[in-house]
Amino acid sequence: MRPFHPRALAGGWSRRTMARSRGHGLGEYRKMQHQMPGEPATSVEGVTPLKLFLGFASIGFVGFGGVMPWVRWLVVDRKSWCSAEEFDNLFALASFLPGGNVLGVSVMVGGRLAGRRGSLAAVLGLVAPPAVLVCLMAELYRRHQHLEAVQGMIGALASAAAGLIVAMGLRMVWPMRRSPRALAIVLVVVVAAGLLRLPLVWILLTILPASLLAARLVAR
């Protein structure tokens, strides 16, 4: 038994049996095949690439100071496309892939719900609207960078945006509160990356093997 792992809490329902027993066609089953069996049910039916594009595009416009907390808010809180545990696991996996966590997790969420086109739609929604906006902003900024109100606004936005990341980190730590192993690793990484500011490659090369060993030895 591994009491800490969220999947241990999930029942034995497989998506396949659920899809069949509810009488869905093959198309519905195809959409679900990237969801792991036994994961908590989420409202994934009828999510089209267009809906994914529009959802991700809506946060692309408002995601000041980094879209990471917004993607979690959209996918977990707003649309229930993923459970919180599922999202955190996809997110952790994406953090170790090139391109970073936000882009990676969008590819995975989109792909899980609507296949290849879902991945593409999610990434297009996430990237295209802010890309257009930022080029317009670059032109605007050249004309108005001397204004004090503009400087003050951007400074205050950056502070509030930092608060979004703080909240997201705390929400992800909360499920680990009964696992001293996980908390210890979180603490080591926070000190190494946040306070000592060591290069990421060093941190991954040293802490990843240690964390794998700890996960192997400690059940929680």
Partner: protein, 175 residues
């Protein structure tokens, strides 16, 4: 190869293949390439573009869009943006399929249990760095950061609410 758009696209394609930890990790190398190696822009211009990409909505890979825009206008912006996304699109999709097939294997559960705390630690570290760079030691700004975090933890309402309030307070010069 003399075409700057092609050069930039290939460079960004390569950088995003090795950008573990996010595209932000490759910014120093992008700076070195665009400013020192190719001489496409001054260091000051690059710094302004970077500040803009941080202050604007959207993922932080948007810095590549801005560099492309600066180097070659519309075509540069489109190609640079596509080059940042393409490697992740392919790699993350394959990783997701791998997870769907092997997600219940013991080794995969072990890997997941090992990497989740590291990822969470990196987010909290990012939170510390962002708070420090955005607020410094100014109490009103630290309060803004703390209140935003509390708002998000206590409610499920849109994060746009605290951001809008912050923008108004900042624009009026109260923070």
């Amino acid at each position: 190869m003399e075409n700057p758009v092609a050069l930039l696209t290939l460079k960004i394609l390569f950088l995003s293949c090795i950008a573990v930890g996010g595209f932000i990790a490759t910014v120093p190398e992008l700076n070195r390439f665009a400013v020192q190696v190719q001489g496409w822009m001054s260091d000051g211009t690059f710094a302004t573009l970077f500040a803009l990409s941080q202050a604007s909505p959207g993922p932080n890979l948007i810095i590549a869009t801005l560099v492309g825009w600066e180097v070659a206008g519309f075509a540069g912006a489109v190609l640079a943006t596509a080059a940042t996304c393409l490697p992740t699109l392919v790699i993350a999709y394959q990783a997701m399929r791998l997870r769907a097939h092997h997600g219940r294997a013991r080794w995969f559960l072990l890997v997941e249990r090992a990497i989740l705390p590291i990822a969470v630690g990196l987010i909290l570290a990012t939170a510390i760095l962002l708070t420090a760079s955005a607020s410094g030691a100014a109490p009103p700004k630290l309060a803004l950061t703390a209140l935003t975090a509390v708002f998000l933890l206590a409610t499920r309402r849109s994060p746009l609410v605290p951001l809008a309030i912050a923008a108004v307070l900042g624009g009026a010069g109260w923070v």
